[in-house]
């Protein structure tokens, strides 16, 4: 019995190494100013899918949504052993919150109709941990969150251990399922040097467009398109074309994507700075203690 898995991955800013202003004026993440990495939990999700494929056969597809450069995380996944990758790149999807993101991913997942979908438990940039559950709801897959051990897949039934704040539980469900994977679940395999050599030139169409536009001035859209088509055909011949989709390709309604399709808005962003307080002593009576607590409430130390 072999299984087809889809792994959702995200390119994220490395939040441990932030320099400069991490946010743009419109409240979205300033990706240009931040080093981009593959979201750590997603690599554990990928490893879980690869282990199933290695054991049972089948295939692992990786999908991501983002600007052209987000294809970097697809290559990362391909180096580690994924069979194919899909980049969903469309300006109309920019600024999506978790609800809009899960809608776009749901349209893509439905197109691939996998047996299992894997997501990282959370991303390090938004730390919402919402896209997995929302994707499950939209695709009508059975949701299993916080998987810290994938115990077995047998006869189209998956058994997994969930790590909860109150302990753990072992659950079983019939396929198809969506699992969000915790970093404790496994140790991701490193990229294979052989696959890296073979696939480092793999590119997606949006990346080709970006490169050609950077390299030359194009008199009109048609000549650019002809050049892009030619380059894409060349790559495809060598098995180096990473599939890419626009919202139209996956049948996503633009009104449900991007800023328009996102009910949550960032009202404002503050960086966290605690100003040094002057050393102060308070009397041990009601007035003294109230003054102290009042100060802590006033500066929002106590909320």
């Amino acid at each position: 019995m072999n299984y087809h898995s889809v792994v959702c991955v995200k390119q994220v800013p490395d939040t441990n190494r932030i320099t400069g202003n991490p946010m743009k004026d419109d409240g979205t993440v300033n990706r240009a100013a931040l080093e981009a990495i593959a979201n750590p939990d997603d690599m554990h999700a990928l490893e879980a899918a690869l282990e199933i494929r290695d054991h049972h056969g089948g295939s692992v597809s990786v999908i991501t949504m983002g600007p052209p450069r987000a294809a970097e995380v697809l290559r990362e996944a391909l180096y580690r052993g994924a069979d194919d990758g899909y980049l969903i790149s469309d300006e109309r999807a920019a600024g999506s919150d978790t609800l809009a993101t899960s809608y776009v991913l749901a349209c893509a997942v439905k197109k691939l109709s996998p047996d299992m979908v894997f997501c990282g438990r959370r991303t390090i940039d938004g730390d919402n941990a919402q896209v997995g559950p929302q994707l499950a709801e939209k695709t009508e897959l059975t949701l299993i969150t916080y998987v810290d051990s994938l115990v077995a897949v047998e006869d189209r039934t998956v058994t997994a251990r969930r790590d909860l704040d109150t302990g753990w539980e072992l659950v079983a469900a019939e396929l198809p399922v969506l699992m969000t994977v915790a970093h404790t679940a496994n140790t991701p395999r490193p990229p294979s040097v052989k696959r890296m050599m073979k696939l480092k030139k793999a590119r997606s169409r949006p990346e080709i467009v970006e490169k050609l536009m950077r390299d030359a001035d194009w008199p009109d859209k048609t000549s650019l398109k002809t050049a892009v088509d030619r380059r894409a055909a060349e790559l495809e011949k060598h098995g180096l074309l990473i599939q890419s989709w626009t919202l139209d390709d996956i049948g996503a309604k633009p009104g449900r994507c991007g800023l328009r399709g996102s009910p949550t808005k960032i009202h404002r962003v503050q960086s966290i700075v605690f100003t040094a307080a002057e050393q102060k002593r308070f009397r041990n009576d009601e007035a003294g203690v109230s003054e102290l607590i009042g100060l802590l409430i006033k500066d929002h130390t106590i909320r």
Partner: protein
Amino acid sequence: MIERYRQGDVWVFAEEDNGRLFDAPIELMGKGRELADELGVSLGAVLLGGRGTEELVNRLGAYGADKVYLVEDAKLRHYQTAPYRKVMADLCNRFKPQIVLFGATSKGRDLAPSVASALGCGLAADCTDLRIGDYQPKRSSKVYNKVLFQIRPMLGGNVIATVVNYKSWPQMATVREGVMVMPAPNAHNKPELIRYDAGLEGLVPPLRIVESRGQKKTPDLQGARVVVAGGAGVGTRENFKLIWELANCIGGAVGCSRAAVDLGFIDKDYLIGQTGTPIRPALYIACGISGADQHRAGMEESARVVAINIDPQAPIFSFADYGIVGDLTEVIPRMIKAIRAGARVESLGKRLK
């Protein structure tokens, strides 16, 4: 999404397990009460479970619920996403709450996004504060009055974002545990009980729970925004309860110094310092801790340090921002009283326009 219904309740998802109410919803009841009062609407607690959940109704009332929505069904006995999602979404469609709050527990962070997806509404995760404010979208002349400001850390805690969801109601948030002030119960407050039929006849729960195991929760000292710690100066194991009370009322975690462990006041899991857990909370309250170097090394990055010690010469005062010289059995009860009073004043005042 549901229509914007200004008379809609503020709801708290009353997470329970086998008839035991979790701390997260109790903390949320305090904040929910404030929000409901400011909006002039009722505070509702939503209680889903198997049979025998009814006795929790009065407890929820004591913590401030005006109404308790009770849904009992065998399929709700052990939590799993699908039946809970359906019932919560049905309740929202039926009663049109304007705000729905969940604890950011593993259950809350599984359920809330699933319900938000089913309703097509917004959701902010793991909020550390909630306020009511007016919101004007960019490039718009329309002002949305009294919407929920959902305040949460983002980008690995490098920034604090205020998130709003002014159109696609209900306004939903999961709220971090241990950051809201726990309300004092009032047994005289009797809530209105609203029973609702689960309507789960057609639903086969897709998960089979093969085995489940509770585990002792290790204290999350590093994640805590506020830490209240006790040392040798606490005096007795009995007195150490005061440390727990202060931490509970302020929504903080409990920690201790090496001396408190050696004297048997508390388990070594709670040890702060070089040999224990290094911490950097927003507020550190050291009670009866002298401030030896190895302790200082584990907590000196705290944003604010408050020291309570009977010895005015204790080294802790040299690096504390605020200090009180006195007997902590007097000081701590006064602090608890002041915090409770302060929390009430906050709910009336408008900190943010």
